[in-house]
C-alpha cells in the first residue's frame, strides 16, 4: 500500500476509524447513494418484468411479500431519507450556510432518519 494519493485507495473512503462526525456523514451518504443507485437499477429491471405479462409480475409480487424483502424495502426507505436529508445539509453547507453547525445538522439528520425508520418499521411489520 502506497502513501501517495491514488484511486486504488478507495476503500479508505469507508474507513471511519478515529474520524469525526463529518466523515460518518460522508461515508453514510456515499453508501446510501450507492445503495439507492443499485436499487434504481433493480427497480427498472423489475418494471421490465411487467413487459413479460401480468402473470410474471404477480408472481414477483408474491415473492416480495416475505419479511426479508420487506426489511430490504425498509433499508431503501431509510437510506433514501438519510441521503435526502444529508443532501440538504451538504447543499446548504456547500454555500456557506450552517458550516459551523454541520455536526449538529448531521445529528438532526440522523435523528429524523431514526424516527422515520421506527415509524415505517412499525407500519410495515405490524
Amino acid at each position: 500500500m502506497s502513501n501517495k494519493p491514488s484511486p486504488s485507495n478507495w476503500p479508505k473512503w469507508f474507513d471511519p476509524r478515529r474520524r469525526e462526525a463529518g466523515s460518518w456523514a460522508f461515508i453514510l451518504n456515499r453508501l446510501s447513494a450507492l445503495g439507492l443507485t443499485f436499487y434504481l437499477f433493480l427497480h427498472l429491471i423489475v418494471l421490465g418484468t411487467l413487459a413479460q405479462g401480468e402473470a410474471a409480475y404477480d408472481n414477483f409480487l408474491e415473492t416480495i411479500h416475505n419479511p426479508l424483502f420487506i426489511l430490504g424495502e425498509l433499508v431503501v426507505i431509510v437510506g433514501a431519507v438519510y441521503h435526502g436529508l444529508n443532501g440538504l445539509r451538504v447543499g446548504l453547507t456547500s454555500f456557506g450556510i450552517g458550516v459551523s453547525v454541520q455536526k449538529q445538522l448531521f445529528y438532526i439528520t440522523l435523528a429524523i432518519t431514526a424516527v422515520v425508520a421506527v415509524f415505517f418499521a412499525v407500519r410495515m411489520f405490524s
Partner: protein, 242 residues
C-alpha cells in the same frame, strides 16, 4: 524532570525501497512532554537512524505533522497525556497522501508549490487575519501591522481528507483555504484553477480538515466561502462584469 510514565512507542519505519514495518520502543516519559519530544528522545538515545521532520517545536513551522494513533497531530504541541494513558501504546505514522521520504518524513513539496500557485501570502496585514480570541483583537491603529499567516503549511488537513486519498490532482483544503484568503478579486487564472474538478467542487464535505487543523484556519469554511466567490465571479463574468 520527572519521567513518571512508561509508554510504548510504535513507530512506522521505511528506508529506501525496503518494505515498511513498525519498531517499538519502551520509553519512560513525562506525560506533560510533547509527542515530538518522545520521538526525538528515541533518536537521541535509542536509534540514530530514525528520521522525522521538525524545526520550531512550538507550532509555527508546520514541519512536525504526523499521525498519532491514526489521528493527524502537530506533534510538537500534542502533550503525551492527551493521546495515551500510562502504560499505553503510542502509534506514530507519517502523514497520508504525501510520498514517504523515510520513516516519519514525507515530501510536502506538492503542498508548498500549490500554495505558491494560489498566491497564498505568508505575511498579511493584521486586520486580514481573524483574531481567534477577543482579548487578542488588535487596536485599530495596528491593523496596518503585518503578521505571519495562520496556515503553517503543515499538511495535516490533506492527510485527513478522504478525497485527497484517492485524487492526487485535488488541490486540497490548505490550498483552497489559501486561495480563499488571497481572494479571487478578478484573478482569472486563479478562478480557472479553483473552479475545476480538482478545485472547490471536489470537496465532499467530510469536514476532517477543520477537525485536525492545529492553527485556526478552518479550511472547510473557507472552501465553502470560496465556492460562493467562484459562483459570484462566474455570474459577474456572465453579465460581462468580471
Amino acid at each position: 524532570m520527572i519521567n513518571e510514565w512508561k509508554i510504548t512507542l510504535k513507530i512506522y519505519r521505511q528506508k529506501g525501497q525496503e518494505p515498511p514495518h513498525y519498531d517499538t520502543f519502551e520509553l519512560e516519559v513525562n506525560p506533560d512532554e510533547y509527542v515530538l519530544d518522545a520521538i526525538e528522545r528515541v533518536w537521541a538515545f535509542r536509534d540514530r537512524s530514525l528520521t522525522f521532520a521538525h524545526a520550531c517545536h512550538h507550532s509555527t513551522c508546520g514541519a512536525c505533522g504526523m499521525r498519532v494513533n491514526d489521528v493527524e497531530k502537530l506533534t510538537c504541541i500534542t502533550p503525551i497525556r492527551s493521546v495515551v494513558a500510562n502504560g499505553g501504546v503510542l502509534k506514530v505514522d507519517p502523514m497520508r497522501n504525501f510520498p514517504v521520504v523515510s520513516d516519519l518524513v514525507v515530501d510536502l513539496g506538492s503542498l508548498y508549490q500549490r500554495m505558491d500557485q494560489v498566491g497564498h501570502r505568508s505575511v498579511l496585514p493584521l486586520g486580514e487575519e481573524p483574531a481567534p480570541h477577543p482579548a487578542a483583537a488588535p487596536a485599530p491603529e495596528d491593523l496596518q501591522a503585518l503578521r505571519l499567516a495562520d496556515c503553517i503549511e503543515c499538511g495535516l488537513c490533506i492527510s485527513a481528507c478522504p478525497v485527497a486519498t484517492t485524487t492526487p490532482a485535488y488541490l486540497g483544503p490548505a490550498v483552497l483555504a489559501g486561495a480563499q484568503q488571497h481572494g479571487l478579486n478578478g484573478d482569472l487564472k486563479l478562478l480557472e484553477l479553483v473552479d475545476s474538478d480538482s478545485g472547490v467542487w471536489r470537496c465532499h464535505s467530510a469536514f476532517e480538515c477543520t477537525a485536525v487543523c492545529p492553527s485556526n484556519v478552518d479550511p472547510a469554511r473557507r472552501i465553502m466561502d470560496l465556492r460562493r466567490q467562484v459562483i459570484g465571479a462566474r455570474i459577474a463574468r456572465f453579465f460581462g462584469r468580471g
